[in-house]
Amino acid sequence: MGALRESWQNIVDLWSLIVGLKVTGKYFCYRHRTVHYPRKTVDNINTFRGPLELVPKSKDPTKPKCIVCMMCATNCPCGAITLVKKKAPKPTPEELKAEEEAKARGEKVKKKKAPKEPARFIQDFSLCSLCGICVENCPVGSIRFSNDVYFAVTRREDLALDLLARLRERAGEMEKTLSVEQEA
């Protein structure tokens, strides 16, 4: 009786393997689930957090909305953002003369203020941890995450991204496509 039960148990055990093989066989006949990357790409990347990008002014697509309040640079946990404000423009010789004359007369001289525009906006992507604190705390909504999934470089220095240059590049590309469309 014991031997009979044992052999029956062996058959049951073997059956469990056949059931498993059936599953693998079934899925062997299915279409593959992966995407062959260079030939095909995925489309669900709208919210993917890639490197930062600047949001252009609605009137001038080459200039960012940024007012250089430094909220992003000072609050970044990793210190990944380097932001430098533009300096005040140098006065022309005529203006200097007028200033001196005004001083001689004893009037108060108003110096030209620096424009609220960034001179350099660099994101070191090797330091960024993509938390989104800069994006959430920007008072004018000047930065957002790009959804550049395929961003890759071969040297570490290339990870320091000049966001202003990238913005101008994008603006140039936009103009090109617009002119092409107009011609068409």
Binding site: V19, G20, Y27, R33, T47, N75, S129, L130, C131
Partner: protein
């Protein structure tokens, strides 16, 4: 201690039979089970003393992935610390997000909108399923079967695509904020989750046919690595390890946080105490997570996803301390936050469940076969970055 004495103590390693406590025998084999290279991911080194193929002693050596997460909190503000919480446990980062955010909210008495609580429940439970799927695939891979991890990753990819919609990332999420969550859920996301649940329910019988009922797996892990409840209690093990030993302890039920008291779900336990028991508990937990998600989506209220006047990056926590515990995929995650009234926390203590779960390995592995030790180690579901923090 003189310099020479110190050098003698560290000189030599397992090759020179340098244990903290020397054993009674000299004819044993020392085996180093662990990393090929110290900077690979997930490195846990275990020094084994073997008699033939039987383990006389196992000494886990940890610390290769120590990244000073607790110390880093002292030089950052509460909000700036959020990216760290996504990197403590890379398989269930949202639970760590929640534990830290919960401690900050408890300390600052910040109110969380109801919608945010529901969003947290939905995303954390989805993340729990992905975590268990990785464990499921990797554990079977440890035991020598390659195919199942492909099925697990297929389903996990679907979930990662979904979680990418609100969080923006696929692995190290930094999604929660004190007072809510960073982005609201979209219709796409909810639709995707509602499609996923019946799909995944239909996949579970396939998992059962392919792996759970498979006689090779059952002979391999049944009655292996029996952890008595008393051992779990002694080492402070939690999560599926404790529930696999028959104790229905779950932070979501024992000290309900957020809105978990509104959901109807079971706490799976197993009386067999072995590796197969822990396996069954985890698979059952995936089903329970789906039940919670269904109820949460049904009851998802309208409203803001983050409270008005949520802490800014330079927000100063009031003086005092707070502790908040959540149930992660591996057990009880606790965050103890002490503030001296400044923007940076004075001290932060992270209680990681895997550290306690791993500690009992040395005792359980004694006297087992070497291949069984691998099966036991896998069944504990260790995430090494979480042990070292």
């Amino acid at each position: 201690m003189t310099r020479q004495a110190a050098a003698e103590q560290v000189a030599g390693d397992f090759y020179t039979r340098h244990f903290v406590e020397p054993g009674p025998r000299e004819d044993t084999l020392i085996l180093n089970m662990g990393p090929q290279h110290p900077s690979t991911h997930g490195v846990l080194r275990i020094v084994l003393e073997l008699d033939g193929e039987y383990i006389l002693r196992a000494e886990p050596v940890i610390g290769y992935l120590h990244r000073m997460h607790e110390k880093m909190a002292e030089v950052k503000t509460c909000l700036q610390y959020m990216p760290n919480m996504g990197r403590v446990d890379y398989l269930h980062p949202l639970a760590w997000n929640w534990a830290f955010v919960g401690a900050v909210e408890r300390l600052g008495e910040i109110e969380v909108p109801e919608r945010a609580e529901y969003i947290r429940v939905i995303t954390v439970e989805l993340n729990r399923i992905t975590s268990h799927l990785v464990w499921w695939g990797a554990y079977i891979l440890d035991l020598g079967a390659f195919t199942p991890i492909m099925y697990a990753f297929d389903d996990r990819e679907y979930l990662l695509d979904l979680l990418q919609i609100p969080t923006g990332s696929r692995l190290t999420y930094s999604f929660f904020r004190p007072g809510g969550v960073s982005t609201d859920l979209t219709e796409d996301f909810l639709k995707g989750v509602l499609e996923f649940i019946p799909y995944f329910r239909s996949r579970l019988p396939m998992y059962k046919d392919l792996v759970t009922d498979n006689i090779i797996l059952r002979k391999r892990i049944e009655e292996v690595g029996v952890i008595p409840l008393e051992v779990c209690r002694r080492y402070g093990a939690t999560g599926p390890v404790l529930r696999g030993s028959g104790q229905p302890y779950d932070v979501r039920r024992a000290e309900p946080y957020s809105v978990y008291d509104r959901f109807d779900f079971e706490i799976p336990t197993d009386e067999k105490l072995d590796a197969m028991g822990r396996y069954r508990v985890r698979v059952a937990e995936m089903e329970q997570s789906m039940r919670i998600i269904e109820q949460a989506i049904e009851g998802l209220p309208e409203g803001p996803h983050i409270v008005k006047g949520a802490p800014k990056p330079k927000w100063k926590a009031p003086k005092g301390e707070a502790y908040f515990a959540v149930e992660g995929a591996r057990g009880k995650i606790g965050v103890h936050l002490v503030s001296s009234g400044k923007a940076n926390p004075y001290r932060l203590k992270l209680r990681s469940p895997t550290f306690s779960n791993m500690s009992l390995f040395a005792e359980i592995a004694r006297g087992t076969l070497l291949p069984d030790a691998v099966a036991i180690l896998g069944s504990l579901d260790l995430v090494i970055p979480e042990i070292d923090r």
